[in-house]
């Protein structure tokens, strides 16, 4: 494929937007937030982030937003990912290897089922601001 320019990016982005606006809004939206502190990075959170992006893209899922954050205090269970899906409890998953990331997309985001072996209910107690 020929090299893209910034103008190409603008055009491709506009095309995507048009496609998205044609889709029904009831598909539901999801936000995935991957912890990218030093602890997360050392445990491979970049590969986890990339795996989420690949899996979401390969399944052509719309309305999924990928965000990054710092350490959530669960350094012992990195990589961590917080997953917020409409109509489901907000979950922090731990030990999210690329394989687990793909499972989260397939089960949690698509089917609405939790990935039980990796659930932490909230960030570590010492980092929650009152």
């Amino acid at each position: 494929m020929a090299k893209l320019t910034l103008d190409d990016l603008r055009k491709l982005r506009d095309d995507k937007r048009q496609q998205m606006s044609k889709r029904a809004p009831e598909e539901g939206s999801a936000v995935v937030i991957v912890g990218m502190g030093t602890c997360g990075i050392a445990a491979g959170s970049k590969q986890t982030f990339d795996a989420f992006v690949e899996e979401i893209d390969s399944r052509s899922l719309q309305n999924v937003v990928m965000k990054q954050t710092g350490c959530m205090g669960l350094c012992h269970s990195e990589p961590t990912a917080r997953v917020v899906v409409n109509g489901m409890p907000e979950i922090i998953y731990g030990n999210v290897t690329p394989e687990v990331a793909r499972k989260i997309v397939q089960k949690h985001i698509i089917k609405g089922e939790l990935v039980n072996d990796h659930i932490f209910d909230k960030p570590a107690a010492d980092i929650i601001k009152e």
């Binding site: 090299k3 910034l6 990016l9 982005r13 990075i41 050392a42 970049k46 990928m66």
Partner: protein, 179 residues
């Protein structure tokens, strides 16, 4: 320590973002023998005393985790560069900013792999917050420069998966030209 050099870059630039920098310049220069990285920011900076302590893995500013006593970001860079005939320097002025420069010897057997610099750049561009990030990437065959402002202007945001993929494709194209 981090598994590859890209992870170190990700960690160090994230420090600049968390230090409230408004402008960050990430310079990457691969001269075939060494990979040279420089991160310059106009964030909160550090006084001399703090600057000495950041090299200590058991020091952190205590803001994020009040009762914890580890700060491994900078020590990981030092550890990696010491292992592989690299170099590391840091300078900082309180309320003005910080400059970190490091290099690794690409021919040294103990040098970790470079990793995926393109997806690292995309992730940093998409990190939440209001800041300008300018990436200057140079090799012996050429160079390119890209700013967060122009990328966000073209793509709207970098949180949507299709935007992330487009940005990756765009920067991969730029990197191919100078390989």
């Amino acid at each position: 320590m981090h598994a590859n050099i890209s992870d170190i870059v990700l960690d160090i630039v994230a420090n600049s973002i968390e230090a409230d920098a408004e402008k960050i310049i990430l310079s990457i220069y691969n001269d075939s023998k060494f990979l040279n990285i420089a991160v310059e920011d106009d964030g909160t900076g550090m006084d001399e005393n703090t600057l000495k302590k950041v090299k200590d893995p058991f020091f952190t500013d205590g803001k994020k985790h009040v009762s914890r006593k580890v700060g491994l970001g900078i020590p990981f860079v030092i550890q990696t560069t010491e292992l592989c005939n690299g170099s590391f320097e840091i300078s900082s002025v309180l309320n003005e900013g910080t400059v970190i420069k490091f290099s690794v010897d690409l021919e040294n057997i103990d040098t970790p792999p470079t990793g995926d610099l393109v997806s690292t750049i995309v992730m940093l561009m998409g990190y939440p917050g209001q800041f300008e990030l300018i990436v200057k990437y140079k090799t012996i065959n050429g160079e390119f420069e890209i700013s967060r402002t122009e990328l966000l202007d073209a793509l709207g945001d970098l949180e949507d998966v299709s935007s992330i993929k487009l940005a990756d494709e765009y920067i991969t194209g730029l990197e191919e030209d100078i390989k």
